[in-house]
Symmetry: C2
Subunit: 202 residues, 2 copies
DNA sequence: ACCTGAACACCGTTCAAGT
DNA sequence: ACCTGAACACCGTTCAAGT
């Protein structure tokens, strides 16, 4: 019946969430099925790949992250907006150990179930970065893809037990590379005041 | 006989080197034994852990890296010395995909066969960093452990197919975070001209 | 429609048995 | 001394068989 399938789906997600929290994104899928009291094939039916399962767990978080970015953009100066958003990205990744390698693979593999989420996140970061660059508070020689990579690198560092205690400090170091207030190459506050990106929402 | 064992040892290393080049540091140990035409137990006898095998492959490279650091220190200004050394570290890591996670674990696990090599490398980096800091060309709020982590992060980024093409660019971004010429906190060229580290070699 | 679990082809690691 | 490979306990993935 359809109701059974839906119940399985929800239960699998709940169990997977626990297992990922305990073991990280490279958890045993067998273990998830086992703990959910469900056949292995049922897990594969609902989530044909590991990425599909993780995306189901992460999608909401990615969208919240994008929304948070849009909110910051309308309420706070560009430098603070970018910094706060980065901080939240890294904090979010901390909940899902081992996700970064998967994300780096997914962002350029349109076939991956995580692709869309990664693209959403990169787009949100790119907007904040552009604003900060236009305001002259972010280095102009990095782009959204670089930013995505730097966030991933930072999240990866946080996954490593030997550096997780220095997470805040390494964040500052990396952030300083992004938020380079460049000396005096741009004289006045941006000669082209209007860009072409729609400023919808708020 | 002893001669047989030595031959096996060398052959295993040669084969392992090939397999690591093809598959990365997470290669199948079974595959190494198979390709070497040797029983699985023989591989484990010679190299009781994956780390032991990798250390045997990497040890020379680490020592060369340390020697290169010492050489640079005696022949080139501090900023250039640190940059060149970092470049070589990252280039070296490129030959051994997937090694960075293992190294991050090994540096704080004295029981790991890779521990000594990691400590050697960190020490070499620390010396170069200190010189650069004393000369006022490197940020004073990072230490050797941070440097080690940043090198690992950069090497990890290079392992990711989606960023390997931007390796040089990301190197520059990270390097700029390390080599921050701090404004004017240190007025004159270093009040303490002599430090206590021995300037041996040349 | 949906679920199950055996089956297949892999791992890492250990250890009795051979030479 | 040294080597071998079966044995054990795991994987991911697929798919015939059941309801």
């Amino acid at each position: 019946m359809r109701a059974d399938a839906e119940k399985n789906h929800r239960h699998l997600l709940a169990v997977a969430s626990e297992v990922v929290a305990e073991r990280g994104a490279d958890m045993s899928l067998r273990d998830v099925a086992r703990r959910a009291g469900v056949g292995l094939g049922t897990l594969y039916r609902h989530f044909p790949t590991r990425e599909a399962l993780l995306d189901a767990l992460l999608r909401d978080g990615f969208e919240e992250l994008a929304a948070y970015g849009a909110e910051l953009e309308g309420s706070v100066p560009p430098e603070e907006a970018l910094t706060s958003w980065l901080r939240r990205c890294v904090a979010g990744a901390r909940e899902y150990r081992g996700i970064t390698t998967l994300m780096m693979a997914a962002i350029e593999d349109p076939g991956s179930a995580l692709h869309a989420s990664c693209v959403t996140m990169r787009a949100a970061g790119t907007r904040l970065l552009s604003s900060a660059q236009a305001a002259g508070v972010a280095s102009s020689d990095i782009d959204g893809t670089d930013l995505f990579a730097l966030i991933a690198a930072l999240a990866w560092l946080n996954d490593q037990p030997s550096t997780s205690s220095r997470a805040d400090h390494l964040f500052d170091v990396l952030a300083s590379a992004i938020l380079t207030k460049r000396a005096s190459n741009n004289p006045s506050p941006s000669p082209f005041a209007d860009d072409h990106s729609p400023k919808s929402v708020a």
